[in-house]
Each structure stands twice: as C-alpha cells, then as structure tokens.
Amino acid sequence: MMFNPVDIILSFVLLSVLFSFGADRVLTLIKLVGFQGVVVSIIPFFIGDHMSTGGTVFTLATLVIRGVIIPLSIFVAIRKGAIRRVVEPIVGYHASILCGLAVIIGTTYLSGRLDIGSVSGFKLLEPTAIALLATGMFLLMARRNAIAMVIGYIMMENGIYLVGSGLSVSTRHIVEFGILLDVLAGVMIMMIMAVILRNIKQTFDDVDTALLRTLKD
C-alpha cells in the first residue's frame, strides 16, 4: 500500500520533531508536543485488524490526555508564574537542527537494521518512535528552561507510547492498559512539576535550571 495514511501522518510527526529541535519558544514546543500527542494516540486505530471496545476507550482517553490536558496544563503553568518564554538552549539552534537531522538519519538506519517494520507493517512507525525518544532526551539535556525539559519528558513518553502501540499487536490491550496508567502517571508528574515550577519561580524568580546546581560534592 503506497499511500499508507499512517506513514503520511508519521512523516508529519518526524517534521514536527525537526521543528521541536529548532524551536526557540516554549509555546511552540507546547503546540508541537500537543500535535504529536494527538497523532501518536490515533495511530492504534490504524494498526491491527480489529479494535476491542476497551482498547477504543483507552485510546480515546489517551488522545484526550495527550492532545489536550497535558499541553493545556503546561500552558496554564506558564501563565500562572509568568515564566520566560525562551527555551535557553545549551546547544545552539543551528547545531540543534543538525542534531535533529542526525537523529532522524540514525533512527532510520537503526530501524532498518533492526527490521522491525516487518512486525507492524508500517515503515515509518519505528523511526518516528525512536526519533521521538531521542528528541525528548535531547530536550532534556540541551535546554535549560525547566518547561522545555518537562516537554522533552512528555515527548519521550509519546515515543514510548508509539513503540508500545506499534510493537505489541498481540497483547495490545494489556499494554494499552499499562500505557494509559502511564499517561495518568504522566499527568500526576505534570501536576507535581507545576507545583515545583511555581515554587522554583517563587524561590529563584526564574526557572532557569542553571540555578539548581547548588547540591554537589
């Protein structure tokens, strides 16, 4: 099947990955992560032949949370404590974009070698998942703004979700159950993060994590 809808959507996700490498505003990142959330949550509908009702419920719930609640809550968090909008990169934007390209190439190569496509039947599924993971990691390591780091974490979760829903067709319902709980956990983390962020804001009147370097040996 040449015009495989999944692959087409996923190619958009890959594009968003590139954008998120280059994004310099937190808001942009939020939008991107929301988009990715929506996309990765609808993927299961296209995979596998039939969909159990339970599976459907799980998937929809995931969609809502990933696509709406999490981005909104971050947005609210930013609004509450007037947090700076720039992501304060440790690695510069151009370098970041290059990294992004490298990541995408690497992931494609890796998935080609591992040849997982045969399992799910979609070429781009695995590269995208791994790319999302890598991007999340990248944001966590290369952005000083706490919000950006949180978003990186969410992006990683998206990647894992994609892996989970893509890989295990056979035992999907259990995985999805797990994943849903994972998402809930993600939400809880978001709440805690929000608390912490607000307190960080109160304590340091900034969320630049460079300030959080006092505890060391």
Partner: protein
C-alpha cells in the same frame, strides 16, 4: 484478599491528608493514626506471610517469596520509623505535617504494591507511584535546596522509569507471536522464558536495568540519591534508603529471574556486576572525603546497592548473600538515618566538622549510631557481615578474581573514609550545646532495628529461612 494491605495505608493516607487539611484536627491524632496504620500493616503482612491468600486480581498481584521478604522488611521498618516519627515531629517544625504524614502513608501503600505486584506493567506503575508519593516527602522543608533535590529526584527518576517502561514493552514484545495470550506476569514469563526472543529480551533487560537501576541508585544513574536523602527529613530518608531502594531492586530481581530462566544469566549477571562495581567505586569516591554525614550515609546506601547487585550478578551463593545484604542493609541503614536525625536535631548542623563528641553529648544515640556503623561496615554480630562474606566467597568460587579484587579494595577505601568521619562525629572535641534531649521513642526504634539485625545474624526462623531460600533458588542461587 491481598489488596487490603495495599489499600489500608492508602485510605489512611488520604484521610490524614484531606480530612486534616480540611478542618484542622489536633496533630496528635494524625501521628497516632500513622503509628496505628504501621501496626495494622505489620500485622496484615504477617498474616499474609503465614497463610498465603489468593489475590482478587491474581493476574496483577501475587505473593512471591522475594516480594514477601521485602514486604516484611517494609512493614517492620515502617512501624518502627513511624514510632520514631512521632518523636521527630514533636522536636522539629514541619510546615504542613498532614501532607508529610499523608504522603508517608501513601508511600507505604505504593511500596507494598511494588512488593506484591506480579504483572510487569503493574510493577512499573507501582514504582512510578512510589516516586510520586515520595516527592512531597523530600520537599518537606520547603527550602531552596530541598526544592532542587525534589526537582532532580522527580525528573531523573521519571526519565529512568520511562526507560523501564520501554524495557517492559520490549520484554512483552519479546513474547512475539509465539505465545500470544499468556498474561504478562513475571511468573508466566518465567514459565515461558525459553521461548522468548533472546534479542528483545536482552534489550528489554538493559532498559529495565537502567530504568529501575536509576531508582535503585546504581552508578552512574545514582546522581539524584545523595541530594534527595540528605534533604529529606530523617524518617523519610530512612524510608527512602531502607525500603524504596529494595523495591527498585525487586523489579530488577524479578526481571533477572526471567533472564536466568531464559538461560541468559551470563549476560545479565555480567551487567549487574559491572553496575555493582561502578556503584561501589562511586560510593568510595565520595565517602572518602565527605563532609555531610547524611550524604555519607546516602553514598553508603549506593555502596550497598552495588554490593547487592554484584552479588546477584555473581549468582550461586552470591544471590543468597545479596538477599541477606538487602534485609540487613534495610535494617541497619534505616537505624543509621534515624540516628543521624537525632544528631541533626541535636547539633542543628549537617556538616561533620560542626558535630563531635557524640559519646558525651548524646550517649544513647551514640550507641545506636556506632553500632550501626559497625554493622554497615560489615562487622559481626550484624548480619551484613554474612552477606558480604557469602558474596566475596561466591565471587571467588565463580572465578571473577579481578572483579572481587576491585570489590575488596574499594570496600577497604570506603571503610577507611566512613570510619574517619564516624570517629570525628563520635569522639572529636566539640563544645556545641545539644539542643534536644534523647527521648525513648527516638532511640528505641534504632535499638530494635539493630537488635533484629543482630538476632537475624545468628538465628533465622525456619519459615523465614524457607522464604529466603525459595527466593534465592528461584534465580539459581544456593550454597553451591
């Protein structure tokens, strides 16, 4: 009816948190509830141990020997720590006590869930939940440092746990089409381990090891641990170091069980040994010149986790040693953290150089602290000695001569550093006025913990011994 033991502390925690924060009841009731729940939990877990009941959701929960062991340890520790906490709360000012107490209880329930969970995903969720429940504990003091510690703790652990999730997914994937429909419970997977796809199983193990290893405090993922342990109030640190790390270890233990059943123990064992040695070395690096005693204790926890991982990797008698080490480390280290809490309250300073002459100032704490040091350093009559002995002998038996040499040498370095600091705290001249008087409820828990370890060093009741040997033989441990 296994789930009750999970729910009881959870409900109690919610009650404490919401009810007390809603209409301000006297604090004493909350403290009483804390101790009460601890007692109830202890009795419940004993009942659980005596007569293994079936779980309602038996595909998610089951009573396994290793889980049972850590559950017993957890409830004993929690009870004693809760008794200590009463005295501790009286002495120290904590901003929102109801939050503290509540999250301690919820923390307990999540950890109980870890020990009882038999399902990969449930295990993962439980461990994630422990992170969430313990985060408020670390942030109790509301200071900048504690904030930073919490931030690091939550973020690093979440990232690690995410890795663990990926690992779990991969392990599930390794089932492939071959045996669809088997529940994804550890027991079932162990059953069908031979048919699993080794490549994905290995990958899954790697991710799970790194993930749960982050939580367990294996180097180089240990970075959050000293900050969190030193910033949290002492009862919380005692819980974190004494129990939480074991829970994370439980995840690795169960996964390693699958690996062994799949005949991949060389791979998994090798990785475990490497991480173990790294952790011990890291601990040695930072204990040698440590200037805060709580951080020192935290690093010593890293060391002991490394020892446990090493023993598990060595296999054979080493696994037995590892399990023994796990039990005794929990007992001794929590007692040490409680004593360090007394020291902190007494001297009002975290730095070693501002403490001293504990033997004169707080004699009863001194006894507990020094005995704990002797125990953690692996001196009989404390049980950690047996564990380390078994691990070293097993390593020689298995022929890992280089590894065991590094192991022994770094243990020596750690002892030298630890001993130096402890001598300073206990005997160095110091003219600080002690701020608190040692109440019975702030020393007896330590004494009881140490006494337990002392007794378990010489006599282990047969039923408990049975449980231990079940847990050990499950992953190919044993005397030979």
């Amino acid at each position: 009816m296994v789930e009750i033991i999970i729910l009881t502390p959870f409900i109690a925690g919610l009650i404490v948190f919401f009810v007390f924060s809603a209409f301000s009841l006297p604090k004493s009731i909350g403290r009483f509830l804390l101790v009460l729940t601890g007692a109830v939990h202890l009795t419940l877990s004993f009942m659980l141990w005596r007569n293994h009941p079936q779980a309602i959701f038996d595909q998610y929960f089951a009573v396994t020997p290793e889980g049972m062991l850590s559950l017993l340890v957890i409830s004993l520790l929690f009870f004693l720590i809760s008794v200590y906490t009463v005295g501790f709360l009286k002495e120290s000012q904590i901003p929102s006590e109801s939050l503290f107490t509540g999250s301690m209880l919820v923390f307990l329930s999540t950890m109980t869930m870890v020990t009882l969970s038999n399902h990969i995903m449930v295990m993962w969720i439980a461990i994630e939940a422990t992170t969430l429940a313990s985060a408020p504990l670390i942030y109790t003091h509301r200071s900048a440092a504690s904030l930073e510690a919490t931030w690091k703790y939550v973020l690093i652990c979440s990232v690690g746990i995410a890795m663990a999730l990926l690992g779990s997914v991969l392990v599930v994937f390794s089932m492939g089409q071959a045996n669809a429909g088997t529940p994804i419970s550890f027991s079932a997977l162990t059953g069908v381990a031979k048919t699993l796809d080794p490549l994905w199983l290995k990958a899954g193990f790697v991710f799970i090891l790194v993930g749960y290893g982050t939580k367990m405090g294996l180097a180089p993922m240990h970075t959050w641990l000293p900050d969190a342990h030193s910033e949290a109030p002492s009862p919380a640190s005692a819980l974190l170091s004494g129990v939480l790390l074991n829970c994370a270890y439980l995840g690795i233990f169960k996964t390693n069980k699958i690996m062994v059943a799949a005949g991949l123990q060389d791979f998994s064992g090798g990785i475990l040994m490497v991480f173990g040695l790294l952790s011990i070395l890291a601990a040695a690096t930072f204990i040698l010149k440590q200037n805060e005693y709580k951080r020192m204790l935290a690093y010593s926890s890293i060391e002991n986790m490394g020892i446990i991982a090493f023993g598990t990797g060595v296999g054979g008698l080493g696994v037995y040693g590892a399990v023994i080490c796990m039990i005794h480390h929990s007992l001794i280290k929590s007692s040490l953290f409680l004593s360090s809490g007394n020291i902190l309250l007494g001297y009002g300073d975290r730095l070693i150089k501002n403490t001293g002459n504990l033997v004169k100032g707080m004699p009863r704490t001194f006894v507990a602290f020094f005995a704990g040091f002797a125990g953690i350093a692996g001196f009989p009559p404390f049980g950690l000695f047996i564990g380390e002995l078994c691990i070293i002998l097993a390593a020689f038996r298995a022929g890992f001569h280089v590894a065991v040499t590094v192991f022994i040498l770094s243990l020596c370095v750690i002892f030298a550093g630890f001993g130096n600091q402890v001598m300073k705290i206990c005997f160095e001249d110091c003219n600080t006025a002690i701020k608190i008087k040692e109440k019975a409820c702030m020393v007896w828990p330590q004494y009881l913990l140490l006494l337990t370890s002392l007794i378990l060093c010489f006599y282990i009741p047969d039923s408990l011994n049975q449980t231990i040997s079940d847990a050990v033989t499950a992953i190919g441990g044993g005397l030979r």
